[in-house]
């Protein structure tokens, strides 16, 4: 022990500073803030149709980022996040329509439901190994759908309408939807970025690279996984509440639609798993492809499925992985660089 401490005192630690931001990061952050403000003030520059389209895009981004957090960092490959979207959506409809709570307050209150449901579900599902966890999450989403189809409180299989929204003017609704979209992006993307730059971020990245080695370094892997699962449930719940508030209608097949799992997996795998940049790239590609090729229906989905298959086989890091191998210009940097100011 003495030898080590002697050596440590003999050679003074070089005075380094930790650099955590890059030029590309500063530019991207500026653009992100501009985009966020633009989304928040949509009613003053966009038509109702555009607002609805951007709302859909924001929901894709939010759900995909939550899936990215689960699969890309925590190693929890869920194909049943629609369970939480539907649960929060239904909670919103029950609170606002049945109990007469202000719908905009109800959006926030409805997030309690996915958070509370995620806790016991995690303790059930984490017993399932790797791939079985995935199908387990799917079973849970199916259970939610079947329960909703048989539950008189939510009008069983017939579904519910959000008639209380008619007391607000179209402009008021657009303002609320735009603010909710901006809030959703801030929470899911901004929150993830903040999380990845914090101490938890270091632990998450260590866990992504090797859970066993991370645990040996003192990272509480199981606790972190639990927290990520609950956080992703709440994030997906927010997306679900906002999406169904804009739809004004909810029924069991739409609330617990496995389509959301397909979309999240496609976006993250094509864009690049384990990065926020990948989610943005993938969301934009999916959004544009959906607009252009959506009319081809089944053929379009055959191509999406085959692309997902090919990415899993040959390019697991997705588009962002290929880009960042050539250009070191992260939009959302969270690495720490040690810089010697004397050099």
């Amino acid at each position: 022990m003495t030898a080590i401490s002697d050596a440590a005192t003999a050679i003074p630690a070089p005075a380094v500073t930790v650099r955590r931001q890059t030029n590309s990061g500063r530019i991207a952050m500026t653009l992100a803030i501009v985009a966020l403000v633009a989304v928040a003030v949509m009613p003053w520059w966009a038509s109702t149709g555009t607002i609805r389209m951007i709302l859909e895009l924001c929901c894709y981004i939010a759900v995909a980022q939550m899936w990215n957090l689960l699969a890309g960092y925590a190693g929890l490959v869920s194909v049943g996040q629609q369970a939480f979207m539907g649960a929060a959506g239904y909670a919103l409809f029950v609170l606002a329509q049945t109990f007469g709570i202000n719908p905009f307050l109800a959006v926030l209150l409805s997030l309690i439901v996915p958070a509370v449901l995620a806790v016991p579900l995690y303790f059930l599902l984490h017993r399932l190994d790797g791939p079985y966890f995935s199908i387990g999450t799917w079973v849970v989403a199916e259970v939610f759908r079947l329960v909703a189809s048989n539950l008189p409180l939510v009008n069983s299989g017939a579904g519910m309408s959000l008639r209380v929204m008619s007391q607000y003017s179209a402009f008021e609704r657009n303002v609320a939807m735009s603010l909710l979209c901006a809030f959703m992006l801030l929470v899911t993307l901004g929150g993830s970025y903040w999380l990845l730059r914090s101490r938890f971020g270091l632990a998450l990245i260590a866990m992504r690279d090797n859970p066993v080695a991370a645990a040996s370094q003192g990272v509480d892997v199981s606790r972190l996984r639990f927290l990520v699962y609950v956080a992703a449930a709440v994030g997906c719940g927010l997306a679900g509440a906002v999406y169904f508030m804009a739809q004004l209608r909810i029924n069991p097949p739409s609330a617990f639609d496995p389509m959301w799992a397909n979309v999240a997996i496609f976006i993250v795998m094509i864009g690049g798993i384990g990065s926020i940049e990948g989610v943005l790239i993938g969301s934009l590609i999916f959004f544009i492809a959906d607009r252009w090729f959506g009319e081809y229906g089944a053929t379009y989905f055959v191509v999406l499925g085959l692309m997902t298959l090919l990415v899993a086989l040959y390019a697991r890091t997705g588009i962002w992985g290929l880009l960042s191998r050539r250009f070191d210009a992260p939009w959302f940097p969270f690495r720490r660089f040690l810089v010697d100011p004397n050099r």
Binding site: A71, G75, V77, V79, L124, L125, R127, L128, D129, G130, P131, Y132, S134, I135, G136, W138, V139, V140, E142, V143, L146, V147, S149, N150, P258, N262, I265, M269, I273, G297, A298, T299, F301, V302, V303, L304, G305, L306, M307, T308, L309, L310, V311, A312, L313, R316
Partner: protein, 285 residues
Amino acid sequence: MQWFDALVQGILLGGMYAQYALGMALMFGVMRIVNISHGDLVILLSLIGISMATAWGLGPLAVLAILVPLGLFMGWLLQKAVLNKVVGSDPLPSLIATFGLSIALQNLMLQIWSANSRSLPGGGIESRSVDIGGIYIGLLPVIVLVVAIALTWGLDLMLKKTRFGRALRAAAADVEAAAMTGINPRAVYALATAVAVGILGFAAVFQSLRSTVAPADGAAQLIYAFEAVIIGGMGSVWGAFIGSMVLGISQGIGFRIDPGFGVLAGHLVFLIVLATRPQGLFGKA
């Protein structure tokens, strides 16, 4: 009597589920892979069988004789072209690859066969039943159960007695050690997946005889197979069979309580098993 009837019907339904679950148990036991397109492959084989039966006027036995070799070939191809590239300790690539394949297959089938439900004409066998002390038992479900027992027994025997079975179990226990003793894991994997999908050839014929199939039905079959494997306990062939029985009985009794409750009852029994006995009824702790 009504409940005894539900129990009997549930056991017969379980025979159908066992035919899906065996292949999944085999693949997970050997490779730790779950093939998300498992259910879609059953539907694909069923639709091919139905089309052949209507085009050439084939009977169910002739369709079976074509679909089982076709299933073996499809499984071998799936392993060679896709799964051998993603097998490994990380479950993500295999999941994503088979997930993409599942979406592509479902929509491809939708293009070729449209969303309509179809079934295989069985020449009257599907509607014949025997009356045993006031309970009507369909002949076809009994055949399904007998075939399921025979398949389970045959698969178990193959794993225990044959050279290929020993190679499979060795590769499942420790793939590197098995490779050192001269087993080629990729060849073993290809055969295992071929057998797993070959069994689905039986499932495809019986599924399309006893009810209808449509391109979107695959997801439900995947979930039932998965639940049966987990209830029974992973890695055991007879466990998967018993798990299928438990699932079938739960659904049978659930349907008798309320028609909207049948499938949900199966899911709930699965969650109860998961909460109280996560290693499955026959798994080792």
